[in-house]
Symmetry: C2
Subunit: 348 residues, 2 copies
C-alpha cells in the first residue's frame, strides 16, 4: 500500500462534491453523501467509499438514482416510521431515517425506521455508529439488489451480500462496531485476489455447478459467492438465513423490491436507559471489551480484537497520512469526471 | 434413528411435568416449560428439549434455578420493558417477556423486552415463532454463560453459543424461521461426532493452542468451539462479532452477568402493519419463499430450503410417530427422576 498515491480526506471530499454537484444533486444530499463516503475511506473500508463512485455514476446514467429526489417520511408513529427515498442516493435517505430512529429512541426507548425506494447507502456501519456516538445502540441493515449470494444446496445467486452492522457505546473505549456482509467475503475480496492472481480457499465462491470455485479470475467473472459459513457442513445455511433475515427486514417489510432493483434499509435504535442505568451499561460494555481483548492469544503477535478495532486503527492512520488509492480507481474517477463534466481534482 | 425408542409427545410432557412438579415448581411455570420443551423435541431440536432436563436438574440442585420464582416486570414503557426472572426457569420468563413484546408491538408497532436474572430458556426459535404465528415479526436472542466460543485469534473460550432466532409470517407458507448458534456448530454436534467416532472438519472446534481440532473425543472434552465462519480467512470474526452482539443485547443491556452464571434474553417484535399493509407483507414473503425454493439446485435430489423447513418436516413426522430418544438420554431422565423422587414414566 505504501507505494500507492495518498489522497488527503478534504481533497477526496471536494472531488466527490464536484461530481455530485455536476449531476445536479441537492446541496444537502451532496454534503451528506460526501461526508459518509470520505469517513468510510478513512476507516479503511475501501470498497464502500469513493470506490463506489463509478457505480453511482451508472445508477445516475440509468435513471435509477434521481439526484433531485428528496426523501420523505411516508408513515410515522412514536417509535416507528417508514421513509420513502424517492430514488435519492441512499446516504441522504439513510441519514434521515437513522436520525429519526435516534430521536424516537431518545423519546420512547426504541426507534425503528425502514426505508424504501432507495439506492446504495455506502457502508452499513456508518449509520449504526451514529447511534453509539450518542450513547445509543444502533443496528443498520440494507439489502442489495445485485444477486451474489448462492443459497445452500443451490447453484444460482439469489440475494445480495446483505450486510449487518451493529454498534454499542462504551465509556472509556470507542463503540463496539460490527459491520459484516452475510457472505463469507464481500465481492471486493474476490477482486483483490484476482488482481493478485491468488487461489481462493473453499468457502468463498462457487462454480456454476455449486461446487467450490478456486480460480479467482473465474470467480470475479461469475460472481457466485458462498454465504458466511461456506458449505452446509460449516454452517452456510446460517449465513444464508441471516441474509434472508436482512432481505425480509429491508425489502419485504418496507416494500422495496430487490427484483425491481430497488434498495431498502432497516434501522433499529435502542436507548440503554430504557432498560437499566445508561452509565452502568456503558461501563459494563467496557468491561466486556477488556475481557475480550485479554483473551489468551493463539499467537502472541496477534491479540484478540473487538469489532471495530481495525477501522479505528485505519482512521487514525489515514487521517494523518491520507487515503491510499489504486491507479485503477484514480483512472475510474477521472472517467466519471469526464463523463459528467466535473473537474478532476485528485491529481495535480 | 429408526431403531431408537419412540416416545409420544403427551407422555414426554407428563414426564417433564412430573419432575418439575416434584421440584415444587409453580403450576404455571411447570406447564409453560413443559410445553416449550415438548414442542422443541417435536421440531427435531433434540439438544434443547427433554435433553436439557439433566442440566436443569443440576441448576436446581445448585440453587441457580429457583423453582418457586415468579418473573416480574421491573420497568416498562409503551414499547419497551425489562423483566426480572428472579432465577426462575428461563421458559416462563421468556414467555412473559415475549407476550409482553407482542402486546407492545400490536399497540405501538414495536416491542422490545429484555430479561435479566434468568436461566436456560430452551430453543430460541420457539419465542420468535410465537410472534410469527400472530402475524408479527419476532427476534429472540439469549446469552449462555457456559463459555464455548473462542474469539478469532484467541485460544480461550469467552462467550456462549449465543443463538439468534428470527421468524416472519407468510400467508400460504409457514413462517420463515431461523434459529442458529453463532458458533459453527452447537456443542451437541460435537457430542454426536464423538459417539460416532467421526473426525471433525476444520472450522468446528479448536485445540488449546487455537489450531483446528479434528479429534471429536478431545473436542468433546475441551469444549472449544469456533465461531461461525471458523477461521479468520473464512469469516470467523463475523461469527464472533454476532456472538458479541447477542451478549451485549442479552447481558450488558439487561444487567444479566454471564460471569456470575446469570442468563439474559432479548426479544424484539415488529408489527409489519406499522410499515406497510400487513397482508401485502405476508404475500410478498410467500413470493420470496417461493423464489428461494425455486433456486436451481446443485444436486437435483436436494432442493434449496428456507429456514424452518427441516423443523416443520420433523414436526409433521414426530407428531405422528413419536419422538426418538437415545437409550443414554432415557437413562439420564431415569436418574433425574430417582434424584428428585419423581415417577419415571417414559418406559412401561
Amino acid at each position: 500500500m505504501d507505494s500507492l498515491p495518498l489522497v488527503a480526506a478534504p481533497l477526496l471530499r471536494r472531488q466527490i462534491v464536484a461530481v455530485f454537484t455536476q449531476w445536479g444533486m441537492a446541496l444537502k444530499a451532496v454534503e451528506e453523501a460526501a461526508e459518509v463516503m470520505v469517513d468510510t475511506d478513512l476507516r479503511g473500508v475501501d470498497s464502500h467509499g469513493i470506490g463506489m463512485l463509478p457505480h453511482y455514476q451508472r445508477f445516475f446514467a440509468s435513471g435509477e438514482l434521481d439526484p433531485k429526489a428528496v426523501p420523505s417520511i411516508r408513515q410515522e408513529r412514536p417509535s416507528t416510521a417508514l421513509v420513502d427515498a424517492h430514488h435519492s442516493i441512499g446516504h441522504t435517505a439513510a441519514l434521515l431515517a437513522m436520525r429519526l430512529a435516534m430521536a424516537k429512541a431518545k423519546e420512547t426507548g426504541v426507534g425503528v425506521v425502514g426505508v424504501c425506494g432507495s439506492n446504495h447507502y455506502g457502508a452499513a456501519g456508518y449509520y449504526a455508529q451514529m447511534a453509539a456516538y450518542e450513547g445509543l445502540i444502533g443496528l443498520s441493515l440494507t439489502n442489495a439488489f445485485t444477486p451474489f449470494l448462492v443459497p445452500v444446496f443451490g447453484r444460482q445467486p439469489q440475494l445480495g451480500t446483505n450486510p449487518i452492522a451493529f454498534s454499542a457505546p462504551g465509556e472509556r473505549h470507542p463503540p463496539v462496531s460490527l459491520d459484516m456482509a452475510t457472505t463469507t467475503v464481500a465481492y471486493g475480496k474476490v477482486s483483490i485476489a484476482r488482481r493478485a492472481g491468488k487461489r481462493l480457499p473453499d468457502g468463498w465462491a462457487l462454480t456454476t455447478e455449486g461446487t467450490p470455485e478456486h480460480d479467482s479470475a473465474v470467480a470475479a467473472e461469475t460472481k457466485l459467492l458462498a454465504p458466511l459459513g461456506g458449505t452446509r457442513t460449516l454452517g452456510g445455511h446460517k449465513g444464508y438465513g441471516l441474509a434472508l433475515m436482512v432481505e425480509i427486514l429491508c425489502a419485504t417489510l418496507t416494500g422495496a423490491s430487490a427484483e425491481d432493483r430497488i434498495t431498502g434499509h432497516f434501522f433499529l435504535v435502542l436507548d440503554p436507559g430504557a432498560f437499566r442505568d445508561a452509565g452502568d451499561f456503558r461501563a459494563e460494555l467496557d468491561t466486556l471489551t477488556d475481557r475480550m481483548r485479554a483473551t489468551t492469544p493463539a499467537d502472541a503477535s496477534q491479540k484478540v480484537l473487538v469489532p471495530g478495532d481495525p477501522e479505528y486503527a485505519a482512521f487514525a492512520e489515514r487521517s494523518v497520512s491520507g487515503i491510499p488509492m489504486t491507479p485503477a480507481l484514480i483512472e475510474e474517477v477521472r472517467e466519471v469526471c469526464r463523463d459528467s463534466g466535473a473537474p478532476f481534482l485528485l491529481l495535480p
